[in-house]
């Protein structure tokens, strides 16, 4: 069994992957609930506002995946960058300040792995993952220390982040999406994509590879940070962090959406809606008494299908 590169890659396989994922989810939900009625209810019941909220957050984070993976860079630390973004939002007073400081803080945070990659060629997949773990510790430090809410005596929680309406958050997503689409039409965006073919190609095109590595990873971090900020700011209530609830899992969901969307900005955002629906289904299952980790499992299968779609798109399988 081996993989052979296709001469003419076929985008049809992304549709196959999507249907495969859908079938897997329906099957899992049916197996878990055991009866058709509960399964149908879990798959169809949702609150539009809630779905939209998850969609916007996942959509923004998925763009973080797109700009990084399209440049051939493996930022898998969106979760950590989102946490840093959320912390920045908590320490801000207005929504605008929160978004701006989240972008700056997460962009700065990702510069550590980006610089290591650009200067010393250290694998960014390892370092973004490790800095993600570090982000959890950093967040816990802030929860217990500088950002602890003194008013809530007896409870270790942070101050509340400013609220942002869903409409503004959605507008921000559209803006960021338009930014990426337009960026890819410019010379800078083209050179960023050239990076996926190797640093030599960027150099050949007249660019400096290290600058483009910093730019692509930095932008990816900025998006993930904004995603993290939006996640905490769009909550109706409880816009704070606790020691137990530092990580939300939206980083992983964003990565899945990016792959499932064929690493195209529009595709990724479209796939984010699907991932958001999966998340809502998972919440429904939790309400029906199933473990909370089902959400991760469902999104995990979607991610596997997304990668399978990418593989089928580029390669064909030969059984000998």
């Amino acid at each position: 069994m081996r993989l052979v590169q296709r001469e003419n890659p076929s985008p049809l396989y992304y549709a196959v992957a999507f249907l495969g994922s859908l079938a897997t989810v329906v099957l899992i939900v049916f197996l878990l609930t055991g009866d058709l009625a509960t399964a149908a209810r879990s798959l169809t019941a949702f609150d539009v506002g809630y779905l939209l909220r998850v969609f916007v957050v996942v959509g923004v984070v998925s763009l973080a995946g797109v700009v990084s993976y399209r440049a051939g860079l493996w930022n898998i630390g969106q979760e950590g960058q989102a946490i840093i973004g959320a912390l920045a939002a908590i320490s801000s007073r207005s929504p605008a300040e929160a978004v701006a400081s989240a972008a700056l803080a997460a962009g700065g945070w990702v510069l550590i792995p980006a610089a290591l990659r650009a200067v010393m060629n250290i694998n960014e997949a390892v370092t973004t993952f490790l800095t993600s773990l570090a982000a959890v510790s950093v967040a816990r430090y802030f929860v217990e220390g500088p950002l602890k809410d003194p008013a809530k005596r007896g409870f270790v929680v942070t101050l509340e982040a400013p609220h942002i309406s869903l409409l503004y958050a959605a507008t921000l997503l559209v803006g960021l999406l338009a930014f990426v689409v337009l960026l890819y039409r410019t010379r800078i965006g083209l050179t960023m994509r050239l990076l996926s073919a190797g640093e030599d190609v960027v150099k050949y095109a007249g660019g400096r590879p290290s600058l483009y590595i910093l730019a692509a990873l930095g932008l990816s971090g900025v998006f993930a940070g904004i995603g993290g900020a939006l996640e905490i700011m769009t909550r109706d209530a409880g816009r704070y962090m606790t020691l137990q609830q530092v990580s939300t899992g939206f980083g992983l969901y964003g990565i899945s959406a990016a792959w499932l969307g064929g690493l195209h900005p529009l595709g990724a955002v479209a796939a984010s809606l699907y991932i958001a629906w999966l998340y809502v289904v998972a919440v429904n299952l939790k309400v029906a008494g199933l473990p909370a980790l089902v959400a991760n499992a469902l999104v995990g299968t979607a991610m596997a299908w997304g990668l399978a779609g990418y593989t089928m798109y580029r390669y064909k399988l030969i059984w000998r």
Binding site: L194, G198, Y204, A205, G206
Partner: protein
């Protein structure tokens, strides 16, 4: 390959001699089952065989020792032998018989090219190969390793193996072979037996080649580009001059440092020492975009350095195109006869020749560079496209061009000046009228 007869006996070293492009490698590929012949037949011990694949060839006792070693760098020699299904003790014993010591515990990445080659030879013998095809086995070796290899080859013949020894170096062929077959342009010129006459062999390899074009760069001007005492990883003491209107060829057998030299000359890589001047101005060590700005175009041997294969043809074109790219690409497509169904198709989907044409369109036709530095630009191109390339160079390159080639004929036909490169050094330079024998001699020493 056109109606070639070839035979090798047990216990014989049969030299297969010819210029680049003579068809030596094609013949080897046919004997090893890489290609299947359009006509003719192969007899093994008098029985007709159809060799379907390299695996099949191996099962028939045929081994290929090529310049591409089938060894895993991060494994030790011992592990590699086991991986190949070879009994280590047998391998060591065989090694002793032919005077090869096998560094079992060394990692493959620690080995010299010669050592790797010897491991491959032992591997082939341990698999009971009766016929050893050696494709340019000395191409990457230093003089001492060449000597060692030649004596191993002689011993293989003494053991009763049949060895086909492919080379373009007359001296080596003469030293090691019992018989020599000379190929030229896909045909057999003749089979020669001991004692060999080097003059006769040389004549057979290059006969009738000395047809030169009447006209070439007619108005050659002053020096516009100069490389002085250039050193790199493999490149040593290189001095090259390029005049306005000139096409300079760096000629040599592949793998003698040409690729690095071209990268150094184009500014894509920085030299370890030495200087590069464009129009008298020192540009040594400047970043590549500075060379681009001064009108240098670089066509690397490794196309993946210049083309992002996962991106569309149009995106690749846009690397050097700012406005009206769609129209310009369509025009280039027509002029250079590039075959692609849509500008949005990935560059990877194009054939090698068409990828090269896209590069030519972008770097030459579109940019009209001042200086062109190109590594084997015509390799893999058909006659027609090769002609187009040279026409393009003469018509759009405003200053001059430095091109590395491996084919004497092509060089003599096209160049205004020829530098011969060997082991990273320029060993000779020639100006018209060219003497092919003299140039070929310089290439093979």
């Amino acid at each position: 390959m056109d109606g070639v007869d070839f035979e090798v006996d047990k216990g014989e070293v049969h030299g297969l001699l010819g210029e680049n492009g003579a068809g030596k490698s094609t013949l080897i590929a046919l004997l090893y089952g890489v290609y299947t012949p359009d006509g003719g037949e192969i007899l093994l011990n008098g029985r007709r065989v159809v060799i379907k694949s390299p695996k099949h060839a191996a099962s028939l006792g045929i081994s290929l020792i090529s310049q591409h070693f089938a060894l895993v760098d991060t494994f030790t020699v011992k592990e590699n032998l086991r991986l190949a299904g070879v009994d280590v003790k047998t391998a060591v014993k065989i090694g002793e018989e032919i005077g090869i010591e096998i560094p079992l515990e060394k990692y493959v990445w620690e080995l010299t090219v010669g050592e790797k080659q010897r491991v491959e030879i032992v591997k082939a013998l341990a698999r009971n190969s009766e016929i050893l095809l050696m494709d340019e086995p000395t191409a990457l070796l230093g003089p001492r390793e060449v000597k060692a290899l030649l004596s191993v080859v002689r011993r293989l013949a003494d053991m009763g193996k049949a060895v086909v020894f492919v080379t373009h170096k007359i001296r080596e062929a003469v030293e090691v072979s019992d018989r020599i077959t000379v190929l030229r342009r896909g045909r057999r010129v003749g089979v020669y037996e001991r004692p060999f006459d080097e003059e006769v062999l040389l004549e057979a390899m290059f006969q009738g080649v000395v047809q030169r074009r009447a006209s070439r760069g007619s108005s050659i001007g002053g020096v516009i580009y100069r490389a002085e005492n250039l050193y790199g990883e493999r490149v040593k003491r290189v001095n090259i001059e390029l005049r306005r209107g000139e096409l300079v060829v760096v000629l040599g057998v592949a793998g003698n440092g040409q690729e690095e030299l071209m990268a150094l000359l184009s500014g894509f890589r920085r030299p370890k020492s030495g200087k590069v001047f464009i129009d008298g101005e020192d540009v040594t060590g400047k970043p590549f975009h500075e060379f681009l700005r001064r009108g240098v175009a670089y066509l690397p041997e490794d196309r993946s350095r210049a083309l992002a294969k996962e991106l569309s043809v149009l995106d690749n074109f846009k690397i050097r195109c700012a406005k009206g790219c769609m129209e310009k690409l369509a025009e280039a497509k027509k002029i250079l006869d590039i075959d692609f169904p849509s500008p949005h198709i990935k560059a990877a989907a194009l054939s090698g020749g068409n990828q090269q044409k896209v590069l030519l369109a972008r770097e030459l036709w579109l940019r009209e560079p001042y200086i062109l530095v190109a590594s084997y630009p015509t390799r893999g191109l058909d006659v027609d496209t090769t002609e187009k390339f040279y026409t393009l160079v003469r018509s759009v390159v405003k200053g001059g061009a430095v091109v590395s080639l491996e084919d004497v004929e092509e060089a003599v036909e096209r160049a205004d000046r020829i530098y011969v490169i060997s082991r990273g050094e320029i060993v000779a330079s020639f100006t018209p009228p060219f003497d092919v024998d003299e140039i070929a001699e310089a290439m093979t020493t």
